[in-house]
Symmetry: D2
Subunit: 352 residues, 4 copies
């Protein structure tokens, strides 16, 4: 049994992995650590877990928090995991970090990211960066294995955009510059902490764009798509919030480098993802939406072409809290321990 | 492996049991029958099932629909199951019917129910009525077993009201007359068929009472509570719809026959449900709501007493599509085949 | 032109009256006072007012806040208005207070209310209490006139319950004891301040009861209904939140003292409210709900009788922020200045 | 008093103009015509109008439907207005048509539009086309006056896109080809008729793109922007539905023809709309969204520039049922009768 420790267990990212662990046949929570709500059973904070996981939240300095673990999920904000990772690795645990702390392999690329979110550009554990792997299994599965010690779990918007555009850039059918990522997220993407703009009366009928000056996820999107393209990629990225709880719908546009039909692209995408359990590819008339991936680790891609304008358009749907966060983390854990990638993740979701 | 046939598979009740069967270790769908959407894979209608269940919906007269089955879920409106049950039983299958067709044991009690919903008061299979069992396992577990052939699955509102008041009536701590059941349901309770009052723009910010002249579920509530009380029970029942998708919140009031505290009642309720996996009992300050049972087979009961007015007040929360429908049906199936009652139903749900 | 000052202008209660004042032909905002967001134009905080009201929020000590006014709306929490009222009256202004501070006429009855919400039971201006009038115009119109100086605006739940039960108690057709007020409110009732339980992801699909130990509005409900009945009234009150923004649906139950039909009661209610613009009375089959009073000052009452159980049941719908707050306040202002009661309030709302 | 007849009064477009007419000081409804719900008072169908407009819906052949009118609002689907317009004009009434019937000035351009929506490409009144005016007052105010007889009210998506991009194309600061219009609409845009994909349980948590093969509004967008640009314009248009009731958020991208800052564009847009009451222009950090134009005739434009990628990005917010439909229609009516353009439309909306 894999012993998993969750740091930052009381947030949505933390409870997400805790929930998934209750269903996993080969792993279980060993400790739930947080600096808030210390002492409370997680099932008091999240009563749906009553009877499934009643472990208390413990402070980092609590002896329980020091318990041995095989893997540590850092469900923590930017800047925390980088300080804790060294000690965690020394204890023999593998580290899966939710934040941007380990999504970059050089201090320089990290600094560019940190600048965007107004954080210290100096990474706290720069020597660990080269060792970390970007945890998007569909593209980096070969480097996420039992020898891997650190995974930087990808950003939620980034997952949807990268999976949506990777095949087209790999095959060089779209221009690497001038890409548009028009992304709409559900409110849970902002986490558990209440805020004026996510207060129910201010949100239930509100849609709006935000961070128009630049969203930090663009760094990893351009880096990852650049790796596929073999050349620099430039993306215009728009973050928008709409009143759903879970879900990202990213509408992705690129200029075709050659006349291609939807059928051509459908074949190309299906081939690209042929071995990927969690990516489903659809034609433009399929009646799929964000609700059909809710509560699951799937990414649904809908392919279309605007032949008049010479544009490829991909609509990419994920659940921001699963494929965009805890689900990808668990998928990575499975790979880190040599388990089948979908272990504990073969869940159809609940509808409606 | 238990072979399950679902009649009426394309409605919410049908897809609900189909979804649950994909997770059940000892049962699987043998045929999905419907008169609408014939020929379509259920995963085209419900794309979240893509890769989990891609069986086509077949017409009743299709040979596939005649396949042998160990159990048949009649996820059909009132009046259908009563016509199909005889033949189903003859084929050796057990029958679990979602409608009111088999919730009553005499033609007379059925007729009272049928009158309320404007149906023919003549039951189509009157001789089967005495054999059927009311499928609320918490109260009738002893009569739902491998010898049982027909189960009348309870109404969603009824489940919430009966579980909420049964202990108090059994112990005679509330008056059997003058009970109030003030019930609020999510919109999925009305099923899959679009209707003007459930059109998103007409509902997202709308709450209203309906069927004020009398709701049919009151029949089974009064019958079941009467069985607990050992005397006639009279209930004033109000059905209301609020803009949630899943969930029932029933607020239940009764006049105390003696001065009792919340602590007294909490003890009584916890003792009554001590052996019931799916009922959780809470005191009046617990922060639980409908969202904490969403997607699960649980019933959460919150106990309070208005000492000034001499009233018991129970708030009862269920997911109308699970404990109120497909989940109870699966719980009954488990009992009918001698399996542990919670098989395939130990799911914490997904939050938020 | 009536000069109106709003204290606590940046909350929902404050912006509500500010919004209404922009449409009022005989009154206008003279100053918007608050201790938060000082210096910001209200239209920056509430951009829908851009071009309609761009006045800045000013601190209480700001000279602008001292400007002469004919009426002061205290859109402030309990305990604030009672401290400011004396000086306001001295300046020649009339006072309309939103909180419980002036809903009671004796220090003793105030103390009972204050106890329920954990406040100091000692009123700060006890000598003003006898002078204040409970601002439910439908019942106390004769005492809200140009000679009145202080109005205690009623609580939102209270408005819905009192209007719903007043005729029945006045005519003694229901027992004064054993009344049930089962109330469901939209989230805006909790105000503008974000909170964990009103965070969009925690609320969009959540319904729950709260304050089961006792809600403070029961004091004014029992007092007002007692005045109608001419005897003591006892109410069991349940507060519940459902995911709508605006609206209260209160379902009210009483035991009939004599056999009466819905038609009898409909006549009685229509006669009682014959001269009230803002109360509409409907029979049990009318398809009305909370959305039909949204954004308006109306109270819709749906009358039904459960003859089997001998119960009267009234479903009472209001917009908690209009008839339950700012609308009633403006209706009171109109009366205080001798204007037609509906001035500036004849708005049908917007649908859907 | 302007006498207004509404054809198709029972849909959202019809009730929208009826609602606005109740507030208009110089116009009033003369007849409400429909082929559905004939005989019912509109306030029975839309109870928020109870007491404000209780006129019955009458059939087209009803004598009341023949009453004289000064203006006829054709709140009807494509293909209806073109058949009724001739007779209406003969009666001396002006015509404002909501559909695409009069948005084009030649049979050929109409045919291209009709092809996209699968209608007969032959216009029923081709000789009236050259006379009709596209009813976007901000761009065509000079041709909407007391001499104008027919106005083709613009499409909801089109209003948001055209207002958002017109200044940039007029000033030739973006390339006329390769424009992206990524549009998200609330559900009310689909009208009053229930449909499986707008059923509350299927929509409350669902976002999805639709009509990916091509949306009909692209015709008028390209035509209108082409008029501004003085050259052919090519737009890639994506229609998406999110779970709000009212509102369109269109995110519009164009490639800058020269390096320009946000400040440059802000100046350009403010100058362009200096005389337009109903367009508000904001910089990229303004906290505005769809909810701030809800229930109003405003269009809020948020300007931003992605300097790295050389892209202009405009986020355009309207209420699809007001500025996108009935509000623009009333604005047009005002111009047709020589009234100030904002008469009856100066409404801040209601928040939250």
């Amino acid at each position: 049994m894999i012993r998993a420790k969750v740091i930052g267990a009381s947030g949505y990212g933390g409870v997400g992995i805790t929930e998934l662990l209750t269903r996993h046949p080969e792993a279980q929570a060993a400790a739930l650590v947080d600096i808030e709500n210390v002492g409370k059973p997680i099932s008091e904070l999240y009563p749906h877990l009553d009877g499934f996981c009643d472990m208390p939240l413990v402070a980092p300095e609590d002896p329980t928090a020091q318990a041995d673990a095989d893997v540590i999920f850092m469900a923590t904000p930017d800047g925390v995991g980088m300080k804790l990772a060294g000690e965690a690795l020394s204890s023999g645990a593998k580290v899966i970090d939710y934040s941007g702390d380990f999504r970059f392999n050089t201090p320089k690329s990290y600094a560019q990211y940190a600048t965007r979110i107004g954080l210290d550009t100096q990474h706290a554990s720069p020597d660990l960066l080269s060792e970390s792997t970007y945890g998007l299994a569909e593209l980096h599965r070969d480097r996420i294995n039992t020898n891997t010690r650190i995974v930087g779990n990808p950003g939620c918007f980034a997952v949807s955009c990268i999976l949506g555009l990777a095949p087209a850039l790999k095959k060089a059918v779209v221009e690497p510059r001038g890409l548009i990522c028009d992304c709409k997220t559900g409110v849970s993407g902002a986490g558990r902490k209440p805020h004026a703009v996510f207060h129910y009366p201010a949100r239930y009928e509100q849609m709006n764009a935000y961070k128009l000056a630049g969203h930090q996820h663009v760094c990893e999107i351009e880096r990852e798509l650049g790796l596929q393209a073999g050349t620099e990629v430039v993306v215009t990225f728009t973050a928008q919030v709409v009143p759903v709880c879970r879900g990202i719908m990213s509408t992705l546009y690129g200029t075709l480098t050659q006349p291609l039909t939807e059928a051509d692209l459908l074949d190309m995408y299906k081939a690209f993802y042929a071995d990927d359990t969690f990516v489903r590819v659809y034609g433009s008339t399929a009646a799929v939406g964000s609700m059909h991936v809710r509560g699951t680790n799937y990414c649904n891609l809908v392919i279309s072409v605007d032949e008049r304008a010479g544009k490829l358009r991909i609509v990419s749907y994920i659940d921001n809290l699963v494929k965009g966060q805890a689900g990808s983390a668990l998928q990575n854990m499975n790979l880190l321990f040599g388990l089948p990638e979908a272990t504990g993740l073969s869940i159809p979701g609940v509808y409606p």
